[in-house]
């Protein structure tokens, strides 16, 4: 174990801003990318379902 206390851990020997800045932004970017591809998939599926449903409506609508 490299640390004697949590305070020492967060301080990173005076490099806290740089170390936690690096890891923090990386984590944010990765979370944002995961969120983006999932949102994109949800939107695609929603649109595809709407398209197929509306086509089904045209086919199944009574012509009389």
């Amino acid at each position: 174990m490299q640390w004697h206390s949590w305070a020492e851990f967060w301080a990173m020997g005076g490099y806290g801003f740089y170390v936690w800045g690096s890891f923090g932004v990386t984590a944010l970017v990765i979370v944002a990318e995961i969120w983006q591809v999932r949102a994109q998939r949800r939107a695609l599926l929603r649109n595809l379902l709407n398209e197929t449903n509306s086509q089904d409506d045209i086919h199944s609508s009574p012509s009389s």
């Binding site: 490099y15 740089y18 170390v19 690096s22 591809v37 994109q40 998939r41 649109n47």
Partner: protein
């Protein structure tokens, strides 16, 4: 059922790959999560403090993997784009497009974490050093690839045009890689080579675990994104209608 077999004769069919990618990405995501946890544990709690750079050196546990992936994803992207150009396979362009945003993000993270390392160690967020400058060009190449692709309405034509850009830009990757040897740069040379390592073994282990974790993440996210691209581009086909119904 027997007639549907004829649609599967080509392994590289988007339909086939859509289902394959759907099965594979959770495994790569799980591996990425586990390896990232192990890598961070080693990086923060096992690896000792660096004699010269103090605790600030721990930035390498994210900087080195991000930088490596930014270069490697570019080569993979250019290779897929080239295959698409040579053999006119639809899936190749989709895979190249799926890789570009992740590569661009890693190039951005490489520059950002490098700046956060450079400020305390060199006293400057940025210098026009060969390695930094060529990495900035790499980010612009990714952005140019995506912008060019988005600017052409017909996806097949967009694939071909951006493939040429990707292939021409690939010359930049060896320039980045060898820049620390070819020029007298401020950026330090590689700490790890085939001849051995100049780092403490736990530092090296932590870094390599993080590199593999980033690999797994990049594969997982690219597989997920290529499924989105396939759904979008094949949305008028019967199989997509069946797949989402």
């Amino acid at each position: 059922m027997k007639t549907s077999v004829t649609h599967w004769f080509k392994f590289a069919s988007p339909q086939n790959f859509y289902h394959l990618a759907g099965k594979l990405w959770p495994w790569f995501a799980a591996l990425a999560t586990v390896l990232c946890a192990i890598g961070l544990w080693i990086g923060f709690f096992v690896a000792p403090v660096d004699a010269q750079q103090g605790q600030g050196y721990r930035i390498i546990f994210v900087h080195v993997p991000a930088s490596q992936m930014s270069m490697f994803i570019y080569l993979v992207m250019a290779a897929w784009a080239g295959i698409g150009l040579a053999f006119n396979t639809r899936l190749s362009g989709m895979v190249a497009s799926a890789l570009a945003p992740t590569g661009a993000l890693f190039a951005f993270l490489s520059l950002l974490t490098g700046a956060l390392w450079g400020k305390p160690m060199w006293g400057a967020w940025w210098v026009w050093d060969a390695r930094l400058t060529s990495t900035l060009i790499l980010l612009f190449l990714y952005l140019g690839f995506m912008a060019l692709h988005a600017s052409i309405d017909d996806p097949r034509r967009a694939d071909r045009a951006s493939a040429v850009l990707a292939l021409v830009g690939a010359v930049n990757v060896p320039i980045i890689y060898f820049s620390v040897k070819w020029w007298n740069t401020l950026h330090q040379g590689a700490s790890v080579s085939l001849k051995g390592s100049s780092m403490a073994s736990t530092m090296l282990t932590g870094m390599l675990v993080m590199v593999v974790a980033f690999w797994m993440y990049a594969i997982a996210i690219a597989l997920f994104r290529v499924r989105n691209i396939i759904l979008d581009r094949e949305r008028h086909t019967e199989w997509v209608k069946h797949a989402v119904a």
